[in-house]
C-alpha cells in the first residue's frame, strides 16, 4: 500500500499545554480518510500540525515518503499538501478568481502569464463549482458561507495537491448546504483526490470515507473501515449515537 501521508507519533500543543500526545495515522493514495471525535479532541490541531501551521514537538509527518515535520507551512504546501483550514479562511478583499489563482501560487509565474497558465485548471474548478464562475469577479468576502467553502475547496484543488486536508467543511452551514458539501466530497473522491477529512457530522463522514480514525483527548482511540466502526459499541455510543 502506497501512503501519500503518514503521521507517526505526533506531539503538538500551544504554549505549555500538550494537545496531541502521540497521534499516528495513514492516508493511502486516492483514499478518503475521516478523522472524527468530540470537540476539543485535537482533530484541528492534528491538521495544523501536519500542514505546519503549528510546529510539532515530536514525531514525524511523511508526505509522499518525505519527512516534512518542522518545515514552514509555505514549504509544506509547495511540496504538495493543500490544507483547506477550519473557518474556510478565504481572502475576503480579493476576487474569487484571485483566490483560486493563489491556490496555484507555487506552480505559476509570479509576474506575467499566470492567468494563461492557470486557465485549464480554472475551467475545471468552474465546471465543478459553477457558482464560483458566476461570482469570479466578486470579492470573496461577499460570498455566502457555503460558497466560501466551495471556494476554499477549489483553492486547495488548484494546487494539484498530493494530499488535501479538509477541516470541518460543514461548519456553520445550513443543512441543505451541508448536503452539497458532502456531494462535493464524493466528487473529489471519484476524481481520485487523496483526502484527510475532519468532520463533526461523523455519520456523513463515515458514509464517504474509506477508512476512519477516532480521536479522544489528543490520541487515536479507534480506527478501521466504517463498517467496523459501526460495529464498535463504544464508538457507536460516543460519536455515532
Amino acid at each position: 500500500m502506497m501512503y501519500m501521508l503518514k503521521v507517526e507519533n505526533l506531539y503538538a500543543g500551544y504554549g505549555s499545554s500538550e494537545v496531541l500526545t502521540g497521534v499516528s495515522l495513514e492516508v493511502a493514495q486516492g483514499r478518503v480518510v475521516a478523522l472524527i471525535g468530540a470537540n476539543g479532541a485535537g482533530k484541528t490541531t492534528t491538521m495544523r500540525a501536519i500542514s505546519g501551521m503549528l510546529k510539532p514537538r515530536r514525531g514525524r509527518v511523511l508526505l509522499d515518503g518525505e519527512p516534512v515535520q518542522g518545515k514552514d507551512a509555505s514549504r509544506i504546501a509547495g511540496l504538495g499538501l493543500a490544507h483547506a483550514p477550519e473557518g474556510r479562511r478565504v481572502f475576503g478583499p480579493l476576487s474569487v478568481e484571485d483566490n483560486l489563482l493563489l491556490g496555484a501560487y507555487g506552480r505559476l509565474p509570479l509576474f506575467w502569464g499566470y492567468r494563461g497558465r492557470a486557465a485549464r485548471d480554472l475551467d475545471k474548478i468552474y465546471v465543478l463549482f459553477p457558482v464560483l464562475h458566476e461570482r469570479r469577479l466578486q470579492s470573496a468576502g461577499t460570498l455566502s458561507g457555503g460558497e466560501q467553502q466551495m471556494l476554499a475547496i477549489g483553492r486547495a484543488l488548484m494546487a494539484g495537491p498530493k494530499v488535501m486536508l479538509l477541516d470541518e467543511p460543514s461548519m456553520g452551514l445550513a443543512p441543505v448546504i451541508v448536503q452539497e458539501v458532502f456531494a462535493t466530497i464524493r466528487n473529489l473522491k471519484a476524481a481520485g483526490i487523496t483526502l484527510l477529512l475532519v468532520e463533526q457530522f461523523a455519520r456523513s463522514a463515515l458514509e464517504v470515507a474509506d477508512y476512519a480514525y477516532v480521536m479522544e483527548r489528543g490520541r487515536i482511540v479507534a480506527e478501521g473501515v466504517p463498517d467496523e466502526l459501526y460495529r464498535d459499541e463504544r464508538v457507536l455510543a460516543a460519536y455515532l449515537g
Binding site: M53, D72, A73, R75, R89, G92, L101, Y105
Partner: protein, 289 residues
Amino acid sequence: MITAQIVVSGALMGLVYALVAYGFQLTYATSKSINFGQGELVMLSAFFSLTLLDWGVPYWLMVPGGLLFGVLLGLFVERAAVRLALEQKSEGWILLTIIVGLLGFSAAENIWGRDDRPFPTPISSDALHIFGVSITPVEISVAIGVFALMGLIELFKRKTLLGKAFEAVSADREAAELMGISATRTVMLSYGLSGLVAAMAGILVSPITTVGPTMASALILKAFSVAVVAGLDSGFGVVIVGIFLGSLESLTSFYIGSGWREAPGLILLILALAARPNGVFGKAGIRKV
C-alpha cells in the same frame, strides 16, 4: 491668487508626506509593523544619491542607484529590527526601528557632516505660470514622481501574482502560507518597497529642501499624521490627506506665522487619535475580525 499659490506649493509638500505615509501602509499591511526610522531612510538615501552625483554619476543614472540603495536599507531594517520581534510576536519592532533610525542619523552626521547641502538637479527651477499660479518644473517632477511610483506599486499589487500574494498575506497571513506563499519573504518585500518609497521621497524633495541629517525629522512626523488620519489600510486616502495637510500647513505658515507651521499636523494627529479610542491602529485591528 496668493492663496492659490500657497495651496499649490503646500499641496506639493503634502504629496511627499503622502508618499512616505504610503511606505508605512505597505509594511503595516503585511506585518502590522511600521518603520519608525523611515525618515532616516529618506535622509540616508538622499545623501547617498548626492554622493553619487558628487562622484560624477549622471542624474538619470543616480535615480535608480539611489532607489536601489533605499530598497537595501529597507531590507536591512526588516532583517535587523523587525523580523526578530515579529518572530517572537512582540512589539519590540517599535523600539528597534527607532534605534536603527538613530544609528542611521549618527552615521549620516559622521559620514556627511551636519551641514545642509544643496541637491543639484537638471530639472529647471524657472517658474512657469499656469492660470496665474507659478510653479517650477522641479515641483511638477515631485507630483509626477509621487503619482508614478504609487501607481506602479498599486499596479504591481493588482496585476501580478506576486502582488496578489502580497494582498493575500495582508488579508490572512496564515492562510496565505497554506497557499505556499512565504509570509517572511512577503514582509521582506514590503520593507524593500517601503525603502524604495523613502528613497524616492528623498530624491524628489531634496532639490527643494536641501539635504541634511535633520531634513526628514519634520517630514516623518507629518507623514505619520497622514498615515494615521488616512488609516493604515492601503489606498490612495493618504494622497487626499497629504494634500490637505500640506495645504493647511502652508496656509497656516503664511496667514498665522511660520512658527505655527507644525501645528496643523499635530492637531490633526490628536484629533484622529481622539476619534479612535482604540488607538492608532485600532480600526484596522477591528476590521480584521
